[in-house]
């Protein structure tokens, strides 16, 4: 029987890798992918707890997280496209006009 902590470890690792992608890659799309992975890691957490606790609340939470992730991806992609049209690039490093 696979214990709960292993799932949590996988989720934590996935979260960290997602974070690494977000922090390291300068392409906006990849940053979004990184965020998706972080949200998936959170979902794994939820489902793992749901199985450990025996209740289905975790799975319900996971569904809604997927919904939110989808919505988030839609908005983010739309903004990235807009950024491409205005700034001409989707390199996150270039978007630094507002500072100080």
């Amino acid at each position: 029987m696979v214990s709960l902590t292993e799932y949590l470890v996988v989720a934590a690792l996935l979260f960290t890798i997602g974070l690494l992608i977000v922090l390291y890659r300068s392409n906006a799309i990849l940053v979004l992918i990184g965020i998706e992975l972080m949200l998936n890691a959170a979902n794994i957490n939820f489902v793992a707890f749901s199985q450990a606790l025996g209740g289905h609340a975790g799975q319900v939470f996971a569904v809604f997280v997927i919904v939110a992730a989808a919505a988030e991806a839609a908005v983010a992609i739309a903004i990235v496209v807009l950024l491409h049209q205005n700034l001409g690039t989707i390199d996150v490093e270039k978007a630094r006009y507002l500072n100080g």
Partner: protein
């Protein structure tokens, strides 16, 4: 005794003495700034009423005192001025023989000076202001003399200082007059510091500063010495004794009537009056008396030497005043307040005479220099020259004149003290006094230049009149020594003491001869004494002026430059420093906001994890 005091209506008389001058001052300043004639009249009116009531007071009080051996000083208080927990002060009057004598001196000389300055100030346009300040001065001097406690004395002491500042600086457009006025005020103020401390010390120890209780205070020797020396500081400042005398010669910048009134007869002697007034405290400590004698003697000698080398007539009489003040102080130092007060009494008249005569000479000749006056026919102004001779004789202490009697009384007291050095120094100063007074006479009586116009008539009567009156007074006041003693101390004592008078007279005549030899007839401007090498020191005024200049420039202004530097750089600097660091910090932190989203996230995750770990460890 009190009921007779009331019966003689003395409190009413005292009001008549106290208020007129202040009233005159207020009226002139507020209403009569424009027309001078009316201002002069108001001032003269006030002066004459006060003179009249003083004489009335003198006759009544003299009659009262004659009947009784020991006259109690009746005191009347009119107003509870200030009361705190430990002491209460009342405003009022103190009437005793010392007060009356001083009042006579002050009022007579004030009146004569007011009359004299009608003529002297004839052309000046600020006369209303002049008369206002003059009456304010006379009023404060009068109030000083009749005040019953040390605090009221101190108050009018300062007011007198103010009036001397205003009058010295009367011709404000002359820079030297302005500087002299400031110097006088600051220097006397420095002296008053000591007096104020003495007052506070007295208040602190006894809680009561009324003169009538001075006798009954029973201060310990040390305390008495301390308080008396502090009060003596005030005297040194005001009566221009040795270290603090530098302002008096400069004060000659003021109009001559002012010099006559303030810097000869009244203000400068206020210090001596204060000594006699608080005699019980001083007499309680021997050391204080020795110190006072020392100061007096040194001042007398030093001033005399400086007087010998002056070319300006007013400066000569100024230094002579300092010297005579030195005499009075050393007389008090020799534990004889009678001789000191008598010398004050006589000196007031002949020194006022000399100053007014000098004024008349300057008025005529237009310059202060002795030799110019002589060239411009000083000799031909009969009355002025004659009265100057009389004054010089009295100053030198020649027999029939008042100077002889008062100096004789002082010499007796000094001899009684038994210190041969002191006695010798006083005798020699007497010789110097004779020399410089007759030096002036002989220079003045030189033949005037032909082309200087022969018709040099004398000053108008309004100026020469007071000279005559003073001359007469100088001649006869001396004889009243016997009566003065009886009235002042109640116990009359011996007349002329031959064992002291003869050497003094011989020295005086020797001085006269030396002056005659040096200056009579000859054209040379400096006599044998001037050529003495050591006379260079008095000519440089004992380098005191340079010393004071060095003190103000280096120490006082240096200190202020240092404080200003500290203030601008350290105290202010630290404030601006704080503001700067805040702005710098804001600058540094705003660089954290680089605008790059990934750096934001980086910082966020790093801080969250560090914070989380830190708190976790803290909680564990």
């Amino acid at each position: 005794m009190v009921e007779t005091f009331e019966a003689l209506k003395i409190p009413w008389l005292m009001d008549a003495i106290f208020y007129p001058y202040f009233a005159a001052f207020a009226i002139i300043i507020l209403f009569l700034r424009r027309n001078e004639k009316l201002a002069m009249a108001v001032s003269l009116l006030a002066s004459s009423t006060v003179l009249a009531s003083t004489l009335m007071l003198f006759t009544r009080h003299y009659g009262l005192a004659a009947g009784h051996s020991e006259v109690l000083p009746p005191v009347s208080y009119t107003l509870k001025w200030l009361s705190t927990g430990s002491a209460t002060f009342e405003f009022g009057y103190l009437v005793d023989s010392l007060t009356v004598l001083m009042l006579i001196v002050v009022e007579v000389v004030s009146f004569l000076v007011q009359v004299y300055s009608i003529g002297y100030m004839h052309g000046d346009k600020g006369r209303a202001r002049f008369y206002a300040y003059l009456s304010l001065f006379s009023g404060s001097m009068t109030a000083l003399v009749i005040s019953p406690n040390l605090l009221q004395t101190y108050i009018f002491w300062e007011l007198v200082g103010l009036c001397s500042y205003l009058l010295i600086g009367f011709w404000w457009h002359k820079p030297e007059a302005a500087a002299a006025a400031k110097k006088a005020f600051v220097m006397t103020r420095f002296g008053d510091l000591g007096l104020f401390l003495g007052l506070l010390m007295l208040l602190y120890t006894r809680g009561n500063v009324a003169f009538t209780d001075f006798g009954a205070m029973g201060l310990s020797a040390g305390l008495a010495t301390c308080i008396s020396l502090l009060i003596f500081c005030g005297v040194v400042g005001k009566s221009s004794q040795f270290p603090l005398h530098v302002w008096l010669p400069d004060a000659m910048e003021g109009p001559t009537p002012v010099s006559a009134l303030i810097h000869a007869a009244t203000m400068v002697v206020a210090g001596v009056y204060l000594l006699s007034r608080s005699a019980p405290i001083f007499m309680a400590s021997q050391t204080a008396l020795h110190v006072i004698f020392l100061f007096g003697a040194v001042t007398a000698f030093v001033a005399a030497t400086m007087a010998c080398v002056q070319r300006d007539i007013k400066k000569v009489w100024a230094y002579s005043t300092i010297s005579q003040l030195g005499y009075m102080v050393l007389a008090f130092g020799a534990a004889s307040s009678l001789s000191s007060m008598f010398h004050l009494f006589t000196h007031a008249f002949y020194k006022a005479l000399l100053f007014l005569a000098a004024g008349s000479f300057i008025h005529h000749a237009g310059s202060n220099d002795l030799f110019d006056i002589a060239r411009k026919g000083g000799r031909r102004m009969w009355i002025t020259f004659g009265t100057t001779v009389v004054g010089a004789l009295a100053l030198a202490g020649i027999f029939p004149f008042s100077g002889f009697y008062s100096k004789d009384a002082i010499l007796v007291a000094v001899q009684a003290m038994g210190s041969p050095v002191g006695y010798g120094l006083v005798m020699f100063t007497g010789f110097l006094t004779a020399y410089y007074s007759f030096r002036v006479v002989f220079i003045l009586c030189r033949r005037p230049d032909e082309h200087s116009g022969h018709g040099s008539h004398d000053s108008p009567f309004v100026m020469t009149g007071p000279l005559l009156i003073l001359a007469i007074a100088t001649c006869f006041v001396g004889r009243w020594e016997h009566g003065f003693g009886a009235y002042y101390l109640g116990a009359s004592h011996g007349g002329v003491h031959l064992d002291v008078a003869i050497p003094a007279s011989i020295l005086a005549i020797l001085g006269l001869i030396l002056a005659a030899v040096s200056f009579a007839g000859g054209k040379n401007e400096d006599g044998v004494v001037d050529r003495l090498p050591m006379m260079e020191i008095p000519r440089q005024k004992y380098y005191l002026d340079d010393f004071y200049y060095w003190v103000t420039q280096k120490i006082v202004l240096g200190c202020s430059r240092l404080c200003a530097y500290v203030d601008r750089h350290f105290v202010d600097g630290s404030v601006n420093g704080v503001a700067e660091t805040v702005r710098w910090l804001g600058d540094r932190w705003s660089r954290l906001q680089t605008g790059r989203i990934q750096q934001y996230l980086n910082a966020l995750v790093f801080m969250v994890s560090v914070l989380g770990l830190g708190i976790y460890l803290a909680v564990m």
